[in-house]
Symmetry: C2
Subunit: 738 residues, 2 copies
């Protein structure tokens, strides 16, 4: 995300969605019937904005916390929270929960690792994973944890270096200065530094992380209970998911990490209304988009994605029905596609809602009125019409941009080939002149990805590449030069089969060699195909960046500066997949007149079970039922303002203890990307008591339980004072909103 300040263009929307695919972002969908609830929510709650905000750790909302919740804590409390919180580089959040480097996150955040550790004969996705002995903890091939150690303000050097520059010149200068600062910061191999643009260029910060690359799987439940209810229950509530897994960070010495920063476990049932924190990494929000941009998203971007993902979903379902191995290998893809589809349908539904859109229009109008009434804000008056013009250009270029530069996104082999081809060309250029994803600072990530020994399934690859080629041909039309160049008179099916069967890129050694020695002279079929595509691909990307993206970023920054000038840091910046604090409380809500309680319990899980997917309880669970405390809490809802990327975040009580694990949002959180609505928008989490109940009675994971209990007895967390005794009325605005 570093350096990305434009989140609204089709390209970045797509990028965002693909990140979500990796992030397993979880955020509601507005499917049919449930929309009624949404609509009613809007009607009754249009002015309730309490608990909004995803706050950076260098600008925490301490005044609001004191005012709204009577809460105060010493600096050390927050520092501890910052360092016990983790980011999973691929797109989730996590946290340390023991001094031996034990890490808690969601099952759905590590499902790719679980899949990679599985094989035809041992299916850990289906059967779960439990390292009874420390030596059985297994390394995840592709995982990196980031612990935020420092935030540095680099606004001044960045602004100086880019002053009065526009378009490619701006980009070049920005790349140059940020690479330089990043490099200086990354003084050791265990450090990762990233430039973060807040308030779209209002501030630039440099985030310094400690990296942990040796991450091993400790515990994961069966997918059937981690994702109980599957796509049907996804983003709904009441819910019954044990969406948890435990990892362990290992040091360079190959031993479990010893760390003073970890959250202690709470073994008590939390109370409704109790203040709680979420410390995690929300991936991205789009709350500053203009109505012209929202219209584009509503009328072009989302309908196009809905059509694509709907087809991809049905294709993968049918693929999975061909046999057991097909089902196993398609499961993760299907999960990601269905999850994204629900997210996008939900966001589209929010934008389709007239109350929602009218509220956005009114907010925009109010801002315009402020500008028109003030002589010193006059310079901002043109920003809306400029953006409207850019949206028209975007509409003109998007279909080609998406179909050509963004082509074949689900084919891993094509992605390898394209990356190898481009990297070879880009690495010969001066750093600042490269396509942004190939600047020096990003090369280690690319290398990690290219040289990870992850399993590839040629049959699935062929099916996906065929699908992608078909959709490309359909979007551009058979007579488009790009289509003619890539397909000639052949069919997508034949081209896909040929490329996948002839390429050697599935072999990690081959990729390593090509990465190190370059692609010149290689006759690999997929590489040649990627080369063929690349000239057209670069051309449309150039047009897109020059005509649409760069000027749109610039206008977005102007708008953010205007808001920053008016509201300062009383509004939190859009999410940037960096560490943020959200505050809120355990709280139920009302849906179509029915009260939804804040907690669900084990009993409900068993009542919901059937003999059929996606409601089949694993055998271990059925066996354990007599032993279980059926009234133990399993899931819960809170009022926190979160978004995709927050998956895996701990929910902490006022003492800083783990009371829950974020894994989802409810159905009414659909519009959260665009606006936070407090009445019905809820975070959905696994309750900490539910986790230990299952670890104890279902899995007999004594070693793990002991570790959590031992950690809870230590003294590591700075005390807060005073601890609030009761919840204040929370549904009041906590800050001055436009």
């Amino acid at each position: 995300m570093a350096g990305k300040s434009s989140t609204w263009t089709e390209g970045s929307l797509l990028q965002k969605m693909e990140e979500k695919l990796r992030m397993h972002s979880k955020r509601f969908v507005g499917l049919g019937f449930a929309l009624v609830g949404w609509l009613v929510g809007w009607l009754v709650s249009a002015s309730a904005w309490a608990d909004e905000g995803m706050w950076t750790f260098d600008a925490l909302p301490k005044a609001a916390l004191k005012k709204d919740y009577g809460f105060e804590a010493p600096e050390a409390f927050w520092k501890h929270m910052q360092k016990a919180s983790l980011r999973i580089a691929g797109g989730c959040s996590a946290s340390f929960v023991s001094p031996q480097g034990l890490v808690m996150t969601n099952h759905h955040c590590v499902i790719e690792c679980i899949e990679h550790l599985s094989s035809r004969s041992v299916d850990h996705v289906k059967n779960g994973f439990w390292a009874q002995q420390p030596r059985q903890e297994k390394r995840c091939p592709e995982m990196e944890l980031n612990q935020l150690v420092d935030i540095m303000d680099i606004t001044q050097p960045v602004k100086e270096a880019t002053q009065n520059l526009y378009g490619p010149a701006f980009k070049h200068a920005f790349n140059e200065i940020s690479s330089q600062l990043q490099k200086e910061c990354q003084s050791a191999p265990h450090l990762r530094c990233e430039v973060v643009s807040l308030y779209r260029g209002g501030f630039y910060h440099l985030y310094k992380y400690q990296k942990y690359s040796d991450v091993r799987l400790v515990f994961a439940p069966e997918v059937a209970v981690a994702f109980f209810g599957g796509d049907l229950d996804n983003f709904t509530y009441p819910r019954y998911n044990l969406d948890v897994s435990f990892l362990r960070a290992y040091g360079a010495d190959g031993k479990p990490l010893s760390t003073p920063y970890y959250f202690k476990w709470s073994f008590e049932e939390p109370k409704e209304g109790e203040l709680a924190f979420v410390s995690g990494n929300p991936g991205g929000t789009s709350r500053l988009l203009t109505t012209a941009q929202l219209r584009y998203v509503r009328d072009y971007a989302w309908p196009r994605r809905i059509a694509r993902l709907s087809e991809l979903r049905a294709m993968l379902q049918a693929y999975g029905e061909r046999g057991a191995e097909e089902k196993r290998t398609a499961t993760t893809w299907l999960f990601m596609v269905e999850n994204s589809l629900k997210v996008i349908k939900g966001r589209h539904a929010a934008l389709a809602d007239r109350h929602f859109f009218n509220a956005k229009m009114a907010e925009e109008k109010a801002l315009q009125n402020k500008v028109n009434a003030s002589a010193e804000l006059k310079e901002f008056a043109s920003v809306w019409s400029s953006i409207e013009n850019l949206v028209a250009k975007q509409t003109r270029y998007a279909a080609e941009y998406v179909a050509i530069e963004d082509a074949f996104r689900t084919s891993t082999l094509f992605a390898f080939a394209k990356t190898l081809v481009r990297a070879a060309e880009e690495r010969e250029k001066p750093n600042a002149s490269r396509l942004s994803e190939y600047i020096d600072a990003n090369l280690p990530n690319i290398e990690t990805w290219l040289t990870s020994n992850v399993p590839l399934y040629p049959k699935l690859e062929t099916a996906l590449l065929k699908f992608e080629l078909e959709k490309m041909r359909e979007a551009l039309g058979v007579d488009h030069p790009f289509v003619k160049k890539l397909l000639g008179k052949e069919t997508p099916a034949r081209v896909a089969a040929r490329l996948v069967s002839q390429t050697k890129l599935a072999n990690v050694k081959v990729r390593e060699k090509l990465w190190k020695e370059g692609v010149k002279g290689s006759a690999d079929a997929m590489l040649l195909f990627a080369k063929l595509a690349d000239s057209s691909s670069r051309a449309i990307r150039q047009t897109w960046e020059t005509e649409v993206e760069t000027p749109a970023t610039k206008e977005g920054e102007r708008l953010a500066q205007l808001r920053f000038q008016l509201f300062g840091t009383t509004l939190s910046p859009d999410a940037t997949f960096t560490l943020r604090l959200s505050y809120g409380q355990l709280k139920g809500y009302e849906e179509n007149g029915h009260p939804i309680p804040p907690l669900t319990r084990f009993q409900g899980l068993f009542e919901r079970a059937t003999p059929f997917e996606p409601y089949v309880l694993p055998a271990k669970w059925l066996k354990a039922k007599p032993k279980l405390n059926l009234l133990a809490p399993l899931n819960m809802v809170t009022t926190h303002d979160i978004i995709g990327g927050n998956s895996g975040s701990p929910i902490l009580n006022a003492k800083g203890e783990v009371i829950g694990l974020v894994f989802d949002g409810n159905i009414q959180s659909l519009g959260g990307d665009y606006v936070f609505e407090a009445q019905l928008n809820r975070t959905v989490a696994v309750q900490s008591m539910g986790i230990v109940e299952a670890l104890d009675k279902v899995y007999g994971a004594k070693r793990l339980l002991t570790e959590l209990h031992e950690a809870a007895k230590t003294i590591n967390t700075p005390a807060t004072s005073p601890i609030p005794q009761a919840a204040p009325p929370a549904l009041q605005p906590s800050s001055d909103k436009p």
Copy 2:
């Protein structure tokens, strides 16, 4: 369509789309890249409305024809055209082209018949059909042709009977009077009478048809050439489709029909700019919708349908890949789904276009200004806000209405069951109190459908019903009472398999018996399932009709009356699947700066062919190539204003001779449902010379050719005078538009 004046609600939109599925409606899609052309079109041509209009034969635009084209014709010319034109009851147009009852229409209008005449061993869809001998002409199981013989104005009795009535009372009175008039009119079994509401209740007419129920297939080409380019080329131009078939109407005596009403063939290549007529049955347009209604369609109805059809499409594709028989049986469904999907994507794209929507808003504003400026129009001022309120209600109820009352649309067995269950209940009520599709006048259609011996494929039925149950569960959520009632704790797959394997409704004899004797006491699994669904289904339908549909119809009528008061019959009424005349000319256009010529030729077909679907030319064609005149015209574009239902319409020159056969619209005709745009919107047709070239050189269909030649030599068509010598400048407004 009789009696249907509300075409905008979700229910009727869906109904319309399903009719389109039957109609094989052909109307463009706004896929990605091609939208650029559309946008440019709008920018340059926002005020060019020439040749707009689908005119009823009792109110032909004679003045405009004289003014714009210098064309005049005697009354007999038009009467002849009316009676030589035909409607295919399922949803297409056609025409007589010989005195022996020979009928021309599209291949895609009779593909279901062709499929029904096929079997595992003889695949006429793939191989084509040609009755070398008269006795080889084969009866289509489910086909009825309608010839319009009379139009009667019944506005006065209908208005008298329904005066001052609203809601259910209006509906009841309307049903009563229309049934009575219909019954009186249908004085013989060979007659079909339908009440048609024009200008949404401005006029009511009674259309009287001669029915022809013994219709036999004479000739059909291979689907590979009829639908050359498949879904990829569908709605594009230049085009190379031989989308033609010939039928023959037989009389009650079992002999070929002898008729004086037929169109003669033109054996000359038509000239660009030459005046031409389309005489056919456009299914429905939505040109009078308010912007609030269009927003609903854009933001709810179409996105929902796009998601559904995209999934259905991928599901059917994967189904067809399982084997040859699966492919054969899924082909027609896949065609219909892909066709609808393109139509809806195109319509959505038109509504998404800002220029388009702004034009609609400006038009509405102008109308509102007229109302506000006039004391006598004051009563109409509230119509827009009333409609806006109804749209909000529609938004609230649509998801449940669609998922429950419109459930399981692709399952023929469920449709049989639901119809039998409902008919049994409805037929016991007085005629006027029934659900409108079960009034006496409609029962013969239902009976024909229920008792047709069409093939059913249990495996495909199971797959479709499973899909439908899954989508219903997804739309409503697993905890919805309707879902719980129908599925219990079972899965869609199991319920579908059980119902299809246990029902006897695939047997026509069983259906006949149930239709005659009622369903009481039947233990048929599908019937019981339909019964279970029906109470919920009736409840939501009742709510929908009372709260949304009936009041919306009423408001739609008020709006139409306002327009009628202002513009009279200078605007043609929205299409109603009744006979209409469109006039226009053979004319190319410009796309992204490239000129698109009006005619394509056989040469282009061969150049476009590949060894792979959907561009494989049948063996007969490859063999015939040396004999063919490669410069003979194959397809053409004209400026006519048409829409789905017009498929199969003849294009006639000023002498009334066949110069073409409508089968499609080009990509830029996307918004035709909402507004006619003359600059780029084109009708796509097979050229008459192309048809005879193929009949002669590829198929050796001498008998058929001789018949066309013989017919052309007869004297049957009243002469027009004077025949215009050259085309006038046509792109000027021909009437006063708001």
